[in-house]
Symmetry: C2
Amino acid sequence: MYTLGIDIGSTTSKAVILKDGTEIAASSIVVATVGTDGVSQALDNVMKESGLTQADMACTVATGYGRQTYDGADYQVSELTCHALGVHFVCPGARTVIDIGGQDAKVLSLNEEGRMVNFVMNDKCAAGTGRFLDVMANILKLDISQLETEAAKAVKPASISSTCTVFAESEVISQLASGTDIPDLVAGICQSVATRVASLAKRVGVREEVCMSGGVAQNGGVRNAMAKELGVEIYYDKRAQELGALGAAIYAYGKSSQS
Amino acid sequence: MYTLGIDIGSTTSKAVILKDGTEIAASSIVVATVGTDGVSQALDNVMKESGLTQADMACTVATGYGRQTYDGADYQVSELTCHALGVHFVCPGARTVIDIGGQDAKVLSLNEEGRMVNFVMNDKCAAGTGRFLDVMANILKLDISQLETEAAKAVKPASISSTCTVFAESEVISQLASGTDIPDLVAGICQSVATRVASLAKRVGVREEVCMSGGVAQNGGVRNAMAKELGVEIYYDKRAQELGALGAAIYAYGKSSQS
Ligand code: SF4
């Protein structure tokens, strides 16, 4: 039996086809810029990869920010529920999920079945989100993908005292002007994100294993800083970006096998 | 008897000479850029204006962020205390002072003698401070001094949903791109500062009369938005920027007349 999960985010669309609730048959991530149809493209990709058609899907679940915009789904399910299921699939021991996206950060507490039992979220303040990193990368004239390697070269991570993105920006500009090395600044920037999100995580309670997901989790500099900050190991799965879509496909499998 | 108050801020130095605790004999505001000695200049100005010398001062009090850097004072007194005294001098009925500076915002609650009985402060977040206005003026390619007249021309103030400076910046950029008029945007921006600081004021409790001070209070757009937001009249004194120095001179008078 095949089930389909679609995660429609603000900047990317993801699709995953799951076979019998246990095996990923195909997956796709499409960066969807405004005006393009990222969802159709992601669906085309997974159908091509698996050699299946939508008619083969026993159930389809849509999740994510834009899930209301797709009318081909049997169910629309919240991101948090799907995300938790996806994390549980790749890391059954996960009890805490730290998800840092482009504009928000969430910390989820999971039970043994991968169900979310608690969560905290910041979607009001750019500090501790991908947007903080965007602003800083822009000042340092780096691409966001370079932050990890730069942070790894740090000798003495710069200390950034302001949490606020705007005030921290001024600090980074003045440290740059006074000759602080870029790698040290980048390490300080990653640390700032980690500190901010760690305080969110402490509010929900950190239980191991701890798993990171979301676009910012791709940055090893932030992952390392987070591990130090919380004093735990951080589990990271390469499929971090498609865990929402995966969870949606798992949810769809649960629905089909019930009926 | 003459007393001298000096307020050493992060961007300006202010000095006031007070005669017998009741009459302003001279005052000066000097914009102090890094590396220049704003304090000496402000002192030179008030001495020239009054025809007095430092030897004529019965007592000198320094206040403000940089008060520790000036060693010619008899006392160093906190900004909040001096500010409250200065406000009470120009507006004896003031029970609430809303002070919005370049990087912070404070709300003070005063008793009948002009003593501060309670206060709340935001110095962590750029939203609701002068910095928010700087960022926005920069996007709109306006000088900060133009915001008041632009806001006055608004027909339908733009609504800015994000409180965060960084997220609000994106909103303003996209509203600008989609053709919203500058005056409407500026009115929305002033409203945003007012909303944010009003929520701070509500925490301390708003009692009339309400007086605004600090650099941002010069902007009538913010004052009007604040008056609407709180449903009270806002008292504003042209000497708003020198109230700290004035309060320091009043404090100095209190000390000299005791002894
Ligand atoms: S602290 Fe800074 S980044 Fe956070 S909401 Fe305030 S302005 Fe935005």
